[in-house]
Amino acid sequence: MKKSFTMLLTALLTLSFMLSACSGSNNSKTSSTDPAPAPSANANAEKNAETKEAPTEITIMLPLNTTEAPPDTIKNEVEKLTNTKLKYQFFPADSYEEKLNTSFATGSLPQVTYLKNQSTFVQMKEAIKDGQFWEVGPLLNEFPNLSKMKPEILDNTKVDGKLYTLYIGRPLARQGIIYRKDWADKLGLGAPANVDELFAMAKAFTEKDPDGNGIKDTTGIADRNELVYGAFKTVSSWFGTPNTWGTKDGQLQPEFTFQQYYDTMDFFKKLRDGGYMNQDFAATSKTDAVNMFTSGKAGLYIGGSMQDIDNLNKDLIKNVPDAVLDTHSMVAGPDGKFAQWMIPGYNNVVLFPKSAVKDEAELKKILAFFDKMMTPEVANLMYWGIEGTHYTVVEGKAKAGDDKELNEREVKGYKDSVIGESETNGMYEPYNTLPGRIHAEELILENVKVGVADPTAALDSATYTEKGVELQQIITDATYKYIYGQIDKAGFDKAVEDWKSRGGSKIIEEYNAAAK
C-alpha cells in the first residue's frame, strides 16, 4: 500500500518534470530573436487548394471597448464573405498598452495587430523604423478598395515617409458639449455662446435647483480623470490654446507654454472651487462621470464625442423620463473667436508584424482581407451588424436596432476595427432620430471649419518617441495640481522647466528642425 503510494508519487513527479521541461523549451523558442512560427496554416492550405481556394487563416489582436468579447455571430458571416478563417484576440482597451508591450517584447504579436490610439503608435515608431513591421505603401495600388483610402490621412500615418499601417478613420472633430436642454430651458438659458456663458450655465445648474426637487443636489459639469478626452482639452481649444503644439515667435512650442493654457487652468480652478463641477474629477473614471450625468446629477458633459448622445440619452431617460438632451460645440473664446482641436483623421491604425507574417505573399493575402473589408457589404456587416437583426435601412441610411444591449454585445467589438470611413469603404451613414444627434452631426461639420490641427502630427522627434509619454506625466500632474490649488503659477512654471530640462528642450529642437 505504502509502496504503491510512493510509486504513484514518483510517476507524478516524473510527469510534472517532463511537462515543465516541455514548457521550458517552448519559452525559449518564443523569446529567441527568430520570428515566431506563423500558424501552420499552409500545410492544410495546400491540401485544400486542389479543390478550391482555401480560406486564409488570420489572427487579429485588437482592443475591446466593451466588457466582454463578442460572440461569433458577425465573425462567421465575415468569414463567409471574405473566404478567411479569422481568429480574434480581444483585450480590454484599459490595459491594452501593457498587452501590446508584453506581446511585442516576447515576439508574439499576431499577423494583424491593431494599436490603441496615437500615443501607442508613437511608441511603436522606433520598432517600425527598425523594420519590425511590413511596409504596405507600395502594395496598396494592387488593391482597388484599399487604394481609395484618403491620401491626406495616410500621409499623417507615415513613418519616415513610408506607409506601414492602415487607418481607422474618424471625423476630425467630434467633441463638444452634451447638456440638459430641459434644465437650460427651465432656467431660461440658451446654449452657451462663449466661455463666460458656459461658466454661468455650470453655475446655474449647480445653484438654481434645475431638477426642481427643492434640494441643492446637482452639479454643473461631470468630468473625469483625463485631460485630453475629458473636458480640459476641448475647453482649452475654445480659449484659443493651440492643439498640442503651436507657433510662437516663429518657433514650435508645446501648448502648455501658451497663456491660453493658463487661462483654461484658471477657468477649471474657478469651476472646481465654486463647486460647479465634480470635486473629485481627477480621481473619477469615465464610467463614474457618465453615471453622474445619466443619473440626473449633472447637467453638462464636455469633451467626449457628441455622437455619444444616443447612449447617454438611452440611460438618462431610464432614470429621468422627461429629460431632454442637446449638443453644442460653438463656444467662443474670450477674444470672440471659435476654434476646435482636431485629430489627424484617424483614431487607430493596424500593423503587420514581420515576426508573424513571414513573406510578402502572406502579407498580400492579409491585405486582400482588408481590401474586402473596404467593400460596403463587409464594412456594413462589421460596423452595423446583420441587416434586420442589428439594424435596418431607412432612406439609404442605417438605423441601429432598438435592442441596444444586443448591438453592444455582438457588434461593438468589431465596429471599432473597420478601416477607412464611410466615404471610402461605402458603408451606410447613420440614420438618426434623436434631435440632439442630428444636431451633433451638423456641428461636427461646423467644427472642422474652425478646426486646429496638431502641427507635429506628421513630424518626428526621436526624444518624443522615447520619452514623450513619460515627460507628459509631469505636465498632466502639474495641471491637476494647479486646478486643485496645490501649486500656483510659479509652481506650474517650475514643472514646465522640469519638463524642458529632462528632455523637453530636445523635443522642441527636434520638432523645429523637422518642420523646416
Binding site: 513527479l13 510534472s16 518534470f17 515543465s20 521550458g24 530573436t33 508591450n101 511608441q123 470635486q279 506625466q473
Partner: protein, 322 residues
C-alpha cells in the same frame, strides 16, 4: 516524511539497515532516495520560477530592444543604475516605499495579534465563529472592490463620510486627492482587508498552548490580562518573530494593485512606489531596461533587510528563519 522512511525499517531486505554507519555518500543518497524525490518539486519550483527568470536581469545592463532580444541588445553596463541614482524622482519613490513599509510593519503588523488575542477570549463558539468569518471575509475581495467601496464612501461628490461631516458641521475632507490622506487611507484599507486573515496562524498557535498552564495560572490567582501577558504572548513569541522576519522579506511588496488603484495625479508625490513606477515605466511606456534595473535594486534592498533582521533576531535569542 516519516511515513515514507518507515518502510525502510519495515522491509530491511531491500535497503541497508537504519542506523548502520555507511559513510558512503552514494549509499546514503540511495537510502534516502525517496526523500530526495520528494524534495524535487520544491527544487524544481525554485529553479524554474525563481532562478531561471533571473536570466532576464541581464537586460538591466543593456539598452534592451525587444526586437533585438537579450542576445542582440547593446550592453551599456551600469548606465540605468546611474540614471536611477541621479534622478531626484527615484529618492521620492524609495522614500514612499519605505514609509508605506514602515506603516505596514508598525501599524498593521500588531493588529492581527491583538485581534487573535481578542478572538481567543471570546466565549461561545457560535458567536466566535460568526465573528471570525466576518473578519476573514474582506480577504477574499479583490483590491478593486475594496478601493471602489472606499471611493464611494469618501468621495466629495456625495460620499457618506463627507455628507456626515457636513451634517455635523465640519468641512468636507478631500480624502481621495490629497497627499496627506493617502497613507492613512492605505493602511486603513490594508487592515480592513488583511487583519482578519492574519489572525489564522496566531489562533492556531494559541490553540496549541497547554491548557494546564492556564489552569495553573488561575490557581495562582492570575486574571485574564495576566494570563495573556504571561502565557499566551510568550507562547506565540516564536511565531510572531518568524512572521515578522517573513514580513520583512516582502519588505517592498506593498500590494501593487492596491497602491496603483489609489494613485492619481494629486497624490503621486507620496503614492508612487517602486512597484507602480516599474509598471508605469516598464510596461506602459516600454522602458524595459530601466524598470528592470529598479526592480533589481528593490530585490537587493529586500535581501539586505531579511539578512539584517535575521541576524538581530538570532542575537535576541530567537530562532530566525535560516
Amino acid at each position: 516524511m516519516q511515513e515514507v522512511t518507515a518502510p525502510s525499517s519495515a522491509a530491511p531486505k531491500f535497503r541497508p539497515k537504519r542506523g548502520k554507519k555507511t559513510g558512503d555518500l552514494k549509499k546514503r543518497l540511495w537510502r534516502n532516495k525517496w526523500i530526495y524525490v520528494m524534495l524535487l518539486p520544491g527544487v524544481l519550483y525554485f529553479l524554474i520560477f525563481k532562478y531561471a527568470p533571473m536570466y532576464g536581469l541581464i537586460i538591466s545592463f543593456q539598452d534592451y530592444k525587444p526586437y533585438q532580444g537579450i542576445t542582440g541588445s547593446e550592453w551599456v553596463g551600469l548606465e540605468h543604475f546611474k540614471r536611477l541614482f541621479t534622478e531626484p524622482e527615484f529618492f521620492t519613490i524609495l522614500k514612499n516605499t519605505l514609509i508605506l513599509f514602515a506603516l505596514n510593519l508598525f501599524i498593521y503588523f500588531p493588529v492581527p495579534i491583538i485581534l487573535a488575542l481578542m478572538l481567543n477570549e471570546l466565549r461561545g463558539n457560535f458567536f466566535k465563529r460568526i465573528f471570525q468569518t466576518m473578519v476573514y471575509l474582506p480577504h477574499f475581495m479583490s483590491w478593486v472592490i475594496i478601493v471602489s467601496i472606499s471611493f464611494v464612501m469618501v468621495t466629495m461628490d456625495g460620499g457618506i463620510i463627507n455628507e456626515l461631516l457636513v451634517y455635523f458641521g465640519f468641512n468636507k475632507i478631500n480624502f481621495l486627492l490629497s497627499p496627506g490622506w493617502f497613507r492613512p487611507m492605505y493602511i486603513f484599507q490594508v487592515i480592513w482587508r488583511e487583519a482578519g486573515w492574519g489572525t489564522i496562524i496566531y489562533l492556531a498557535s494559541i490553540a496549541a498552548i497547554d491548557p494546564g498552564l492556564y489552569e495553573a495560572a488561575r490557581m495562582d490567582g492570575a486574571g485574564r490580562l495576566r494570563q495573556v501577558w504571561h502565557i499566551t504572548l510568550p507562547a506565540i513569541r516564536g511565531v510572531i518573530v518568524t512572521l515578522f522576519i517573513l514580513k520583512i522579506g516582502h519588505v517592498l511588496d506593498l500590494g501593487f494593485e492596491h497602491v496603483y488603484l489609489l494613485l492619481n495625479s494629486m497624490n503621486r508625490e507620496v503614492a508612487e512606489i517602486i512597484d507602480t513606477y516599474v509598471f508605469t515605466a516598464g510596461l506602459r511606456q516600454g522602458q524595459f531596461s530601466y524598470s528592470t534595473a529598479i526592480g533589481f535594486f528593490k530585490s537587493i534592498i529586500g535581501l539586505i533587510m531579511v539578512m539584517l533582521v535575521n541576524r538581530i533576531s538570532k542575537k535576541m535569542g530567537e530562532e530566525g528563519v535560516y
